[in-house]
Every structure is written in structure tokens, then in C-alpha cells.
């Protein structure tokens, strides 16, 4: 995981249209945030893929550890009663 001597790495997020959230599309290298936005425009939105861009220095991102996947996400998998389909509703009941 050595660091290049060149420009720092940035993660790029693009909002494809008004009303949708920004979505991670990839990364790129740039000397500063202004250049990162410009480069992201050229690299990730050449065909009207976006109307708004976020760039974040990659080393500012904290990620969950894949080896802790079970302890982090298992609790949400075992609580089926959090889903509406868990409950019995008699036939003939509507609007529910």
C-alpha cells in the first residue's frame, strides 16, 4: 500500500440527476480539490453522467472492516420482524 510520490488520491461521487444521491464512481489523482473536480468532470462525466460532483481525499475515508462483517451486520439479518412480511394479516384486509 505504498503511496505514490505524485498527486494524492481522491474518491469521486457523482449525482446523476436532481433528486438522486451522489454515488461513488471511482477515484483519481489530483494535486488539490479544485483540480480533482476538474479531472473528475473529464474522467467520469464525458457523457452527461452527472450534474454534481463530490471529491474526497481517499485517506479521509474510514471503512468498516470486512472481517467484522458478521458482528456488524448479523443482527440486522436475524430480525425478520423488522419487515412487514413477517406479520400475518387475514385475507380480505386491504390498505395495509
Amino acid at each position: 500500500m505504498s503511496e505514490s510520490k505524485g498527486w494524492p488520491l481522491w474518491e469521486v461521487f457523482v449525482r446523476s440527476k436532481q433528486g438522486l444521491n451522489h454515488k461513488h464512481v471511482g477515484s483519481l489523482r489530483a494535486s488539490d480539490a479544485t483540480m480533482a473536480i476538474k479531472n473528475a468532470r473529464d474522467v467520469y462525466t464525458r457523457r452527461a453522467e452527472g450534474i454534481s460532483i463530490w471529491v474526497v481525499p481517499s485517506n479521509n475515508i474510514t471503512a468498516s472492516d470486512p472481517s467484522e462483517e458478521d458482528s456488524l451486520f448479523e443482527p440486522s439479518q436475524t430480525k425478520v420482524y423488522r419487515h412487514p412480511t413477517f406479520y400475518d394479516v387475514p385475507d380480505g384486509i386491504s390498505h395495509m
Binding site: 500500500m1 505504498s2 488520491l9 477515484s27 483540480m35 464525458r46 457523457r47
Partner: protein, 315 residues
């Protein structure tokens, strides 16, 4: 104890692959998987970047403004593809500068097709039609590659490549329906690029050292020979439809197998070009090296400017 751990991790990893669960950057993966991917993705990135050179050669001499704008957009796409791929390689821990230095020192390879010269305007047609066509054939299955960032980059690339192939076919088609000289020019480009395009799929399955393991890891989804056959089968009718002749006396439709039989590939030529002795190997690598050296001051100046501004902000 540690060995036991590794073999357990390997089993979990292979299970994920077998279940078509994508591998993501922070997941555990065998060293050889990581190395193999870094090799393949960085070679792929280099191919995109070096691939700009044969076409860049014609931007200033495109026959009209429409063709020029198209070629410029296409070459810009290739730069973009290179960047997606270098980023994907970096997610595996590859150092971008080192990766590029390996290209410049000749340690890393790139697609042998770009070591052939582009002598006439018709070559822009042949490259889009055949070279991008072959690249699409290779890349579509890679959209299902087991490594997430590579697969995602490929989806993006494939969306863009189809414009590349169509614009190339348009160029060659226009020439093929033009004057006698123009038609000859189109035929000549097909003659020169046909065999190198077939070689783009790499050595035949019997001689491909990486295929078996790569298929098991789902880095590769089809063998070289399968993809080559698919390419021949779709491309031959395209050539016929515009009145051009594929330069292969052995080419014949095989009724029984429902595919084309084609003549032997000159593997000596392939290995010569891969080994650095193609018509333009030196020129291509020199051009990349010069680009890096000449641009070095820009990279440094931009970084110095950013550092200075950050220092002011924090002061």
C-alpha cells in the same frame, strides 16, 4: 497454525468466487490472485494509454471537422479508460508511479496491436472496427470478472467502446463505397490489421500460461481461442457486407460446427512483437517516456502550488 488459517481463508475465498460473490478491495484474497490482477489490470491500462498514440497520429490530419471531433473524443475516451484502470489497480495496492515506470522500462507489457504503424486514414477505420471490436469481445466477459473494481471499470469502458467500433466501421465503410483508390485504401488497412487483430486475443489456449488459473478465479471468463473464434464469426460477414475481402485464403464457413475455419496465425510474429521487436515498440515506449519527462514540471508545480496554499490556510 498460520498455514491452517490461510487454507481456511483460501477455501472461503474460492467459495465466494464459485458463488459469484464479487471480491472487493479490503477482502482477504490470495497473494497470487492479487498479483495476477495487478498484472492484468495494469497491462490493460497501459494498452489504453499506448493505444492513444497510433490514433493521435491522425487527429491533425482527419479529413474533415466531423471526423476530427470524433477522433479527438475517441482518443480522450482511451485516456479515460486508462485512468479507470490505473485506479482499479491501485485498489489492490499497486503503486501508480511504479506501474507506469514498469511500462517505461519495458518490464510491463501492453497490447501488441499498438506496435503496428497507422499509415493511412483508412487505418483509423480499421482500428475502430477491428481493434476496438476485438477489445469489446475481450472486455464484455470482463464485466463479470470476480474483482469488483475491475468489473465496474469494464462496464463503463464497454459502454463507451461501442461508439468507438461504430465510428471505425463508418470510416471504413465510407472508403469502401468511395473511389477505386479509396476502396483500395480500405482493403489495404484490413489486410494489415486483420492478423494483428486476431493476435490481440493472445496465445492459443495450449500456450496460454495464465488462462487456467484465471478462469478458476473468474478473472477471465472465456479462453483466448473461444473469444478469437467469436470475433472471426461476427467480423467476416461485416467485411463481406461492405465488399472487403478478409486476407485469409483458408477462411471457410464450417457447416457442421457452424463457425468459420481460419488459417494458422503467425505466432513467431506475435512473440517478436510482444518481445519488443514490432515495427513501433521503441517509438511507442519512447513517446510515453517523453510525455512523463516533459510533463514532470507540471506535476511538481501543481503539487507545490497546492502545498503552498494549504500552508497558508493552516497558518
Amino acid at each position: 497454525m498460520k498455514d491452517l488459517n490461510i487454507s481456511k481463508l483460501e477455501a472461503i475465498f474460492q467459495q465466494k468466487i464459485d458463488d459469484d460473490v464479487k471480491i472487493e478491495p479490503n477482502d482477504w484474497m490470495p497473494d497470487a490472485y492479487r498479483k495476477s490482477l495487478i498484472r492484468q489490470i495494469s497491462q490493460h491500462a497501459h494498452s489504453e494509454v499506448v493505444g492513444m498514440l497510433p490514433e493521435g497520429n491522425w487527429i491533425t490530419r482527419a479529413p474533415n471537422l466531423r471526423r476530427k471531433a470524433v477522433l479527438l473524443a475517441k482518443v480522450q475516451d482511451e485516456a479515460g479508460h486508462g485512468l479507470y484502470l490505473y485506479s482499479a489497480a491501485e485498489t489492490l495496492g499497486a503503486d501508480r508511479e511504479k506501474t507506469i515506470d514498469d511500462l517505461h522500462s519495458g518490464k510491463a507489457k501492453y497490447s501488441s496491436i499498438f506496435n503496428y504503424p497507422t499509415l493511412t486514414w483508412a487505418d483509423m477505420g480499421a482500428i475502430g472496427w477491428l481493434v476496438d471490436g476485438a477489445a469489446i469481445m475481450n472486455q464484455v466477459p470482463l464485466c463479470r470478472c470476480s474483482y469488483g473494481p475491475y468489473a465496474r471499470a469494464m462496464i463503463r469502458v464497454c459502454k463507451e467502446e461501442s461508439f468507438h467500433q461504430r465510428q471505425g466501421f463508418e470510416v471504413i465503410n465510407k472508403l469502401a463505397e468511395g473511389t477505386i483508390e479509396q476502396k483500395e485504401m480500405a482493403q489495404d488497412a484490413l489486410n494489415r490489421f486483420w492478423w494483428p487483430a486476431l493476435m490481440m486475443f493472445g496465445p492459443s489456449d495450449d500456450d496460454s500460461s495464465h488462462t487456467e488459473q484465471s478462469m478458476r478465479w473468474k478473472i477471465k471468463r472465456n479462453t483466448n481461442d473461444e473469444l478469437r473464434q467469436m470475433f472471426v464469426d461476427v467480423t467476416v460477414p461485416q467485411a463481406e457486407s461492405i465488399g472487403l475481402k478478409v486476407p485469409d485464403p483458408h477462411l471457410k464457413w464450417n457447416e457442421e460446427k457452424e463457425c468459420y475455419d481460419f488459417g494458422p496465425i503467425d505466432w513467431d510474429e506475435f512473440w517478436q512483437v510482444v518481445g519488443g521487436n514490432g515495427p513501433c515498440n521503441k517509438e511507442r515506449v519512447d513517446a510515453r517516456r517523453k510525455a512523463k519527462e516533459d510533463g514532470k514540471w507540471v506535476v511538481e508545480a501543481a503539487m507545490a502550488f497546492a502545498n503552498k496554499r494549504n500552508a497558508k490556510k493552516t497558518a
